[in-house]
């Protein structure tokens, strides 16, 4: 059997400060995988910084689609190039490459279709996020339990691994903005199994978080609406 192909999808918007280190730290891992940076129409030097490493394939989107559109580009790339697994990995240095094997393992063992690296399964020493964000995350946990009967504690984590079936599905259906909590419902609703494993995360090393201040109210309302609507829709497969 041929070796399994693994794609690391790194969405990046104005991440010139971090992207280089993220790629270098990923490539320090022994695991054999392809790094795909999806430059989501950045206005800074993200493109050059990523290309200069010579270690990553860089896709440059002509305009800014938002994180969901960028990650979905990665799924499409994975689908077209026949990858077996895809890992979503943030371009801001929040996720640790050393934790990748942890979220891949349940997929290797075929325990689930998708695995989320979570900060909350057991208390870890690393970065735990702000108070308000944790309140929001609790609320999504409640919704997840209610709507798809799967207990997911860290809905907003963008550190995830997917198998081939999930890749093909998400290449066709993926939410555009604030996709993380919605994707859980989307996958659950369509009979994909989701597992959570505990991982450590770091605080951002530079740049700005995509969600802050008034935006968080918009975030909560938009995501809650999207989640409820996704749960109402007919199944798309199986």
């Amino acid at each position: 059997m041929a070796k399994e192909k693994i794609l690391i999808i790194i969405p990046a918007y104005n991440e010139e400060a971090n992207i280089r280190n993220v790629i270098l730290s990923l490539k320090k891992q022994d695991a054999d995988f392809t790094c795909l940076v999806v430059n989501d129409g950045s206005k800074d030097n993200t493109q050059k910084e990523a290309e200069s490493t010579g270690l990553a394939t860089v896709i440059q989107l002509p305009s800014n689609l938002g994180i969901g559109g960028a990650v979905q580009t990665g799924f499409k790339y994975a689908l077209y190039n026949n990858y077996d697994y895809a890992i979503q990995f943030d371009g801001d240095g929040q996720h640790l490459p050393s934790e990748i094997p942890k979220i891949l393992e349940p997929l290797y063992k075929q325990e689930c279709d998708s695995c989320i690296g979570s900060r909350f399964v057991v208390k870890t020493d690393g970065f735990q996020s702000t108070f308000m964000r944790r309140v929001g995350i609790r609320f999504f946990e409640f919704l997840n339990n209610l709507l798809i009967k799967q207990k997911i504690t860290d809905s907003t984590s963008g550190f995830r691994a997917y198998n081939k079936q999930a890749i093909a599905f998400l290449a066709a259906h993926y939410p555009t903005d604030y996709p993380e909590p919605e994707t859980i419902i989307l996958l659950g609703k369509n009979n994909f199994t989701i597992k959570e494993v505990s991982v450590e995360m770091q605080e951002r090393q530079g740049g700005h978080s995509s969600i802050s201040g008034l935006k968080s109210a918009h975030y909560m309302i938009k995501v809650s609406l999207a989640i409820l609507m996704t749960a109402q829709r007919a199944q798309l497969r199986r």
Partner: protein, 129 residues
Amino acid sequence: MQESLDFLIQNRIQVFSIIGSATLIVFILKLIKRKKLKEEYSLLWLGCGITFFLVSLFKPLLELVAQTLGIIYAPAALLLVLIIGAFFILIQFSVVISKLSESNKNLTQEIGILKAEIKNLEQKSKEQS
């Protein structure tokens, strides 16, 4: 002559709305003819224009509508018809915009992937030669 002039003066709002809706219908048809407006998106406009034209033309029809809805001043029902029509058209706009942004997103993604693919192929052919 005097009679019809009196009628016009007494029913100014009716005259205005007849002229207005007729102008709208003609304007929309002209836009379609000049291909500035797609037939698909003109249907709601034409529907609204024709409805408005009919209720303006036949006063009893408007009075019936007003009475059914409990509106005392009949021309106010005219406004209601107008607002409902405008609402539907605006909702249609939102639907069309959503559709456009979805296809726009798909195009953007495919272009990004294709560009990376081209770069990849160029590099390979350079290495070979």
